[in-house]
Amino acid sequence: MVTEVTSVQYKNAKCFHIIFSRGVFSVTFSPMTMPALEILGLEKAYLVGFWRKRPKRALSPLHLTVEEGEIFGFLGPNGAGKTTTLKLLMGLVFPSSGSARILGREWTDPQVKAQVGFLPEQPYFYDHLTAHELLNYYGQLSGVPGNERARRVETTLQRVGLPDVQGVQLRKFSKGMLQRVGIAQAILHDPKLVFLDEPMSGLDPMGRREVRDLMEQLKHEGKTVFFSTHILSDAEALCDRVAIIHKGELRGVGAVEDLVSSVQGKVEIIWQGTQIPTSMKALGAECHVIGDTVRAVLAENQQDLAIDTLRRERLRLIAITPVRTSLEEYFVEKLQPAETSVGSTA
């Protein structure tokens, strides 16, 4: 028989103690972490041909979840369907089927967009405006209060590295400067989720570095960043997780750490000299002489035998390292035709 029920709040969780006459039963309710983005089978086929009867598929049903606070890379070669996906999420094109939820709400809900920032690919803005006027206009449309707008515009422009552009119309901006304005307008209204379509495009190495830093800052502020790119080094450096899309189909998704660390069951052994013992070849090692060292790659279970061989031949061992897959290798593997591809899709 229940005699008393008490509750204790700890951080986000609430713990209920149900006290029975014979003991205590505790139940803890933790709030469900809400994904920032859930793509539920979004699909897009454009109708082509003179009578617009022939469907041309741009995106196969896509299922994807992006958790709050992560930097998510959407990778794929040009024409893979990255921009189509972003346009669908922004309501710029309409899906043939499927739906999505952004920050827990239907993606078609206009209020969702107040909490979302979007940088289109190769953005183009009203070139009769100055950067300040443009951001002020976008601030108005996003509902940024008037008394806060001027300050917000100024700090955002400084944040993207455009502090001294007062009075200059956008038609006089370089491509890189326009890209920075694009990023500024995407984060101006302090959105919780930022979609960036090829954000490094048109930027010089310094600019790319700054944008990377900015994306990391956004993550530290608790924001979710979803960005598309075909530059794998950017994704590898920044992303918590990536998805790979090709020809409109999702080919793989996972944490970058897992993807780049997946051991292939092989080790790399490097020793001093140019001598390759015959018994090493018998172990099935692929050997290459590089300068005054030899690099051999062989199966992991042959590792001890290989070391014994080197000892026997009195060769100086320099390094033994497991062979790991780079993101590029993983990417290339996922771009192979489906029938030859190994691995899972989520």
Binding site: Y46, K87, M90, G91, L92, V93, F94, P110, Q111, K113, A114, V116, F118, P120, Q122, P123, Y124, F125, Y126, H128, L129, Y137, Y138, Q140, L141, S142, G143, G182, Q185, H189
Partner: protein, 258 residues
């Protein structure tokens, strides 16, 4: 909602001003001052009539050209340049965008007409040396011209929402010309028989009846304008513009922005 429409409208107005659209006023001023001086020298007793006719016709034509050539690019240019992407990715509904654009263009034309009207009155003062009571009727003609502009703006937006700028210009200009002869088209429909009568009547009532808005000649001859016509034209223009705008919204609401 209202605030967003106002922001879009004021940006459209600012764009038109900065794209030097109002420079047409210089051409208009030169035309009118030249005409006033010329008319003052060669006309006897009909200076007023000539200046009003010429001035108001110029106001109408300049405005129509601006309405068509800005209106046809309002949506298609934004799609082509992808400036629309960063607007519609905000809490802006598509219909708000269309309505905002409409009001922005309408405001541009009203301001343009205001300055041209000043030019007309200045030229009139130059040739007549004073204003007479019937000159107030010019304001009615200007009001009708603005009503015409509203219809043309809405039509240009309608065509712009699904067609290329070139085709939109052709459609909108053709409708303006046909609409200017709408009364003749209705007369022709009345004389025709059978299917031709039915088709001609349908066409006559479908195209905007701009001939009802043209009171320039009667005003130049100091003939008053019936209050009923003012009311009829006001309601007709608002209804027609609303219908065309609704069509634009309906099309644009379902359009993929590739």
């Amino acid at each position: 909602m209202r605030a967003r429409i106002v922001h879009i409208a004021s940006n459209t107005f600012r764009e038109a001003v900065r794209d030097r659209v109002l420079y047409n006023l210089i051409a208009f001023a030169l035309l009118l001052s030249g005409a006033a001086i010329l008319v003052g020298q060669i006309s006897i007793d009909i200076e007023r009539l000539v200046v009003i006719n010429l001035g108001l016709t110029a106001v109408s034509l300049f405005g129509v050209v601006i309405a068509i050539f800005i209106g046809i690019g309002l949506v298609s240019k934004e799609i082509e340049r992808r400036t629309l992407y960063t607007v519609l990715s905000r809490p802006v509904r598509r219909w708000e965008f269309i309505v905002g654009k409409f009001f922005g263009l309408a405001a541009t034309l009203v301001v343009n007409t205001f300055f041209m009207a000043i030019g007309v009155f200045a030229a009139l003062l130059y040739v007549s040396h004073k204003f007479a009571r019937p000159d107030a009727l010019i304001l009615v003609a200007l009001y009708f011209i603005i009503l015409q502009f509203l219809i043309i703006c809405a039509l240009a937006l309608l065509f712009s929402s699904f067609s290329s700028p070139l085709l939109s210009a052709v459609f909108a200009s053709s409708l303006f010309v046909i609409g200017s002869f709408a009364e003749d088209l209705r007369g022709f429909a009345g004389m025709a028989h059978g299917l031709t009568r039915w088709l001609a009547s349908a066409a006559a009532y479908l195209v905007p009846n701009f001939s009802a808005f043209n009171v320039i000649t009667s005003i130049a001859h100091e003939q008053p304008v019936a209050g009923q016509l003012v009311l009829h034209n006001t309601l007709y223009a608002l209804f027609y513009a609303a219908m065309a705008l609704s069509g634009a919204v309906l099309i644009f609401e379902h359009r993929d922005l590739k």
